[in-house]
Structures are given as structure tokens and as C-alpha cells.
């Protein structure tokens, strides 16, 4: 079946370093992607999204890169802070809008 997954279940980075979290998807028709952040005990929060007509989108301290050729997207967090510690997961939507899939998540730990 279709899937969106993450490469690593856990990631540890030093405070101040940049973080890169990766995600792969299987449906080449997927044309809209979102990165969510989920802190312990809370629901997922929207971070940034990207559509398939773009290969890069920047937000505040975050950048999402989309490589449609290899069906891969990544979330880059600049100058990682302790408050960035959370589970991050990607979600992908198919062209009809009602085909969407969530990755299993990468747990990011920021070491002070």
C-alpha cells in the first residue's frame, strides 16, 4: 500500500547544531506534504508544508526540502534549541485529497 515513513526513529543533536529529519514516500502522485511536531502529551502541531510544484520552502528556523525524483523530503531545523525536542513526522496527501498518510515519527532529543 501507500506509505510515508521516516528514516530514523530517534535523533540526538547538540543545542545550537542544525537538525535534519528525513522522510520517504511511496506514492509518486502525492502532491502535498506537511511536517508536524508533537510534544509529549500533546496533539501534533503544524510546522511547515510544501506542495509538489516546489522543491524548497523556508519558515522560521525550519526548511523543508522536497526531492520528487527519489520521493524524499526532509525537515531542517537551524540552531536547534531544547524546546525543539519532540517527535516529528511527515504526512503526505494524494492528488484526490482524501488519500493521506502519516509517517511513524522521529524523536528528536536536544542535548544542552
Amino acid at each position: 500500500g501507500e506509505s510515508v515513513g521516516l528514516h530514523l526513529p530517534t535523533l540526538s543533536v547538540q543545542e545550537g547544531d542544525n537538525s535534519i529529519i528525513n522522510c520517504a514516500y511511496s506514492n509518486s502522485a502525492s502532491d502535498y506534504f506537511i511536517w508536524y511536531k508533537q510534544e509529549s502529551g500533546k496533539g501534533p502541531q503544524f510546522i511547515i508544508d510544501i506542495r509538489s510544484n516546489m522543491d524548497k520552502r523556508q519558515g522560521q528556523r525550519v526548511t523543508v526540502l522536497l526531492n520528487k525524483t527519489v520521493k524524499h523530503l526532509s525537515l531542517q531545523i537551524a540552531a536547534t534549541q531544547p524546546g525543539d525536542s519532540a517527535v516529528y513526522f511527515c504526512a503526505g496527501w494524494g492528488p484526490t485529497g482524501n488519500q493521506f498518510y502519516f509517517g511513524t515519527g522521529t524523536s528528536l532529543t536536544v542535548i544542552p
Binding site: I34, K42, F46, D49, F89, W93, F100, F102, T104
Partner: protein
């Protein structure tokens, strides 16, 4: 800001009980969703609704039903709770199907 609220943060029920999980959104969104989240499995869609009184099965509808009598409210019903329905339940809403989904804080359900 979009606000999605869920009726309970924690629930403990016994096997065979009927369980109601309520979700309310205040942004006049057309679409509402119920997911369950389990370790290592990510978010899995149970049901979604794209309009009042309309519903669509997600990936794992078995053992669940839903009700959407009003636009702002989407209820998840476990007709006869079982221990394998112990999970975190997340509600979300969106204005369009292929747009950002905004999540509630989640309900952690324990079925004994």
C-alpha cells in the same frame, strides 16, 4: 487560531462498555478526522467526515462508528470497547481535504 478540543484527556473504561469521544472545532471547518496513535505505528485514520451527516471509513474503521450531527462536532463511538482499543485518540479538522489538519490535544483511552 484554530482550536480543536476533545472532551477528555484521559479515560479508563472496562471491556464491553460503550465509549463516546467528543471533538469540537471552532473554525467552521468542513472536514473532521479521527485517528488513533500507537507506538511504532504512527497515526492511523479511523474515520473522517467532509460534511454534516457524511462520513467515510479510514484505514481501520472496525470496532468504531462516528457521528456528525453538527458541523463543529465529530464524535467517535466504541460500541463495545476492547483491550486492543487502548490507544491515544486524536481528532483533527481542516478547511479543505488537502489542507493542513489541526489537531486536538488527544484522549488517552485505557480499556481494562
Amino acid at each position: 487560531d484554530v482550536k480543536v478540543t476533545q472532551s477528555s484527556r484521559y479515560l479508563v473504561k472496562r471491556t464491553g462498555e460503550k465509549v463516546f469521544l467528543e471533538c469540537v472545532q471552532d473554525m467552521d471547518h468542513e472536514n473532521m478526522f479521527w485517528y488513533r496513535q500507537d507506538p511504532g505505528l504512527g497515526l492511523r485514520l479511523i474515520y473522517f467526515s467532509y460534511d454534516v451527516k457524511m462520513k467515510e471509513k479510514g484505514d481501520i474503521p472496525e470496532g468504531y462508528s462516528v457521528s456528525r450531527e453538527k458541523k463543529e462536532r465529530f464524535s467517535l463511538i466504541l460500541e463495545s470497547a476492547s483491550t486492543n482499543q487502548t490507544s491515544m485518540y486524536l481528532c483533527a479538522s481542516s478547511s479543505q481535504l488537502q489542507e493542513t489538519q489541526y489537531f486536538g490535544p488527544g484522549t488517552r483511552l485505557l480499556v481494562l
